[in-house]
């Protein structure tokens, strides 16, 4: 049960990554690999600031800003300097590796004895469950602290999802979506598509940085290697999410991305429980994304024959 709650919480935290990837890949049609660097950047900024004595909330907000800037740089490389979209992401991701080491000062920052956003969530359990330490759910005993973290994380993710949804429904948000959908049309309607792409990638990586900050605080450390393959994980979540919904409306796509991230985490937890070697995780994730991308085409060919 603890395992289940743990995976749900991590899934929710990583759903911010999924939302970020949804913005870049699906809304802007931009394969943005910056994610691998910006999720670590978020973790690095949050961890170093917390260790340096800043409030955990401020540290988390700053990780969003850091990711935002990283995304903007990728956008500027692509739009202003006409660098291929994949390459812009790769350049920034690579540069961020050094930046992250600079920010952290070493390759790993432990947060175990620090006050973090997650520890405040834990202490919030006294308000939700009074002073009970163990909660009984359908015969399973669950630490009240873990449950409290899960509930508060879920609330925060839902708030972010709603804000994102509402934002994409504003005049600015619809212009952003149109930029990814038909750039020529929206330019002819007077929108600077370059600005939209820069802003969109900034927003995307801001969310991803935030995800990294929460992830580091949850697992109790920030590590310079933690971002490797995160883009594929985010993409897997988005793809699962699209499979879960039947109508591709904006609200459902956002909900789907979150559900996809949580479901993916659960599947990973189950696979690990069954004895899958954790080292194989990224291979299997990549294989999964390959199959998900290939399947629609293969099905079409199969139907034609």
């Amino acid at each position: 049960m603890t395992l289940l709650i743990g995976s749900l919480t991590i899934g929710l935290i990583l759903s911010l990554l999924a939302l970020g990837v949804f913005i870049s890949f699906r809304i802007f049609n931009f394969p943005d690999i910056t994610a691998d660097g910006s999720i670590t950047l978020g973790a690095a900024v949050a961890a170093s600031m917390i260790v340096a004595g800043f409030g955990p909330l401020l540290a988390t907000v700053c990780s969003f800003i850091a990711g935002f800037i990283a995304g903007a740089v990728t956008g500027i490389l692509h739009t202003k300097f006409k660098i291929n979209s994949l390459l812009s992401g790769i350049l920034v991701m690579t540069a961020l590796y050094s930046v992250n080491l600079r920010v952290m000062g070493k390759s790993n920052i432990p947060l175990l004895s620090q006050k973090t956003v997650i520890t405040s969530f834990e202490s919030f359990s006294q308000y939700i469950f009074s002073s009970t330490d163990i909660i009984n759910i359908a015969g399973w005993s669950v630490p009240a602290k873990d449950l409290s973290v899960l509930i508060l994380t879920a609330i925060i993710i839902i708030i972010f999802a709603i804000i994102l949804y509402l934002f994409l429904k504003t005049n600015l948000g619809t212009a952003m979506r149109a930029t990814g959908n038909n750039a020529q049309m929206i330019r002819a309607l007077g929108v600077n598509t370059q600005t939209m792409i820069i802003l969109g990638l900034a927003l995307s990586n801001g969310l991803i940085g935030l995800s990294g900050a929460l992830f580091a605080q949850y697992q109790g450390f920030a590590d310079v290697q933690m971002g490797i393959g995160m883009i594929v994980l985010g993409l897997a979540s988005v793809i699962i999410g699209e499979a879960l919904i039947n109508e591709k409306t904006l609200g459902l796509l956002i909900t789907g991305a979150i559900m996809g991230a949580v479901l993916f985490r659960l599947l990973v937890a189950i696979a690990l429980r069954w004895g899958m070697n954790p080292n194989d995780l990224k291979l299997i994730t990549a294989g999964f994304v390959f199959i998900a991308l290939m399947l629609p085409m293969a099905l079409k060919r199969f139907k034609r024959n």
Binding site: T170, N171, T174, N182, A188, G190, V191, N192
Partner: protein, 270 residues
């Protein structure tokens, strides 16, 4: 209103695919006029329109709009004054977004786009009213994605969208070429209606000589990146489809002579 001064544009310069699309085009478009541009394939008609819209920057020459030099003004800034309908019905609308969202995008052409809701009830009512004028039943499908509509419906919508905020100049780039004949006639009627009602200054490229003869009050014929004929309102009145076709023949014949002469010279002297 719009003054084009000796503009040049070459695509893929210094490659095997080099295309000299515009070679010294000068043109003055008066306010309220409706100019039809015809020409052979690759004569630079569409390039001329795109140069005015700002899809690319020209190599040399100048473009003035209301006396202001807009040669270096990016496309999205020119869009404030210029409305454009493209040949491909898929170009003018965002397929995955709803009809209402597409219109709301168009209703903000050249205006500030901030954090206000794109779809307000007040706007939706206005959208519905204007859509009714198309007589296509689109007002009942405001929330449907545009991708589900037919080419004709999309083109009608694009036309409505590009004139939603009244443009000082309307550019139509063979906007009926991709449609079936019946739909094309409908779109042409709609075009004339909108232009007449809003008194729009229009520049229309067409491949249909019939449209060229029937519409507008000036015809320009282009060939090899140059304007070769320019008929004003009076001359146009007497112009028939057959006249235009014979002009095309004449151009082609001249070209053939040029080629055969060149060949002959080559044979004799090289």
């Amino acid at each position: 209103m719009l003054k084009i001064d000796n503009i040049y544009k070459t695509f893929n310069r210094e490659t095997v695919n080099e295309v000299k699309a515009l070679q010294g085009v000068s043109l003055h478009i008066a306010k309220g006029s409706f100019t039809v541009v015809v020409g052979t394939n690759g004569s630079g008609k569409s390039t001329l329109l795109n140069a005015i819209a700002g899809s690319f920057y020209i190599d040399s020459g100048k473009i003035f709009h209301n006396g202001k030099n807009i040669t270096k003004l990016p496309e999205h800034k020119r869009a404030k004054q210029i409305g454009m309908v493209f040949q491909n019905p898929f170009t003018g609308t965002a397929p995955d977004m709803s009809i209402a969202e597409n219109i709301s995008l168009a209703s903000k052409r050249g205006k500030h786009r901030g954090f206000g809701w794109a779809l307000k009830q007040k706007n939706l009512d206005e959208f519905k009213n204007k859509l009714k004028s198309l007589n296509m039943g689109l007002e009942e499908r405001l929330n449907n994605p545009i991708g589900k509509l037919s080419g004709g419906q999309r083109q009608a919508l694009t036309l409505l969208m590009s004139t939603w905020v009244k443009p000082q100049l309307l550019l139509l780039d063979e906007h009926t070429a991709a449609l079936d004949p019946k739909t094309a006639i409908k779109i042409i009627k709609l075009t004339e209606e909108i232009i007449r009602k809003d008194k729009l200054t229009t520049l229309m490229v067409t491949h249909s000589m019939q449209q060229a003869v029937n519409m507008g009050n000036r015809i320009i014929m282009m060939h090899n990146g140059k304007i070769v004929f320019d008929f004003d309102e009076n001359e146009k009145k007497h112009l028939k489809v057959s006249d235009l076709l014979s002009l095309f023949d004449e151009i082609r014949r001249k070209e053939q002579i040029d080629k055969s002469v060149a060949e002959m010279l080559e044979r004799n002297y090289v």
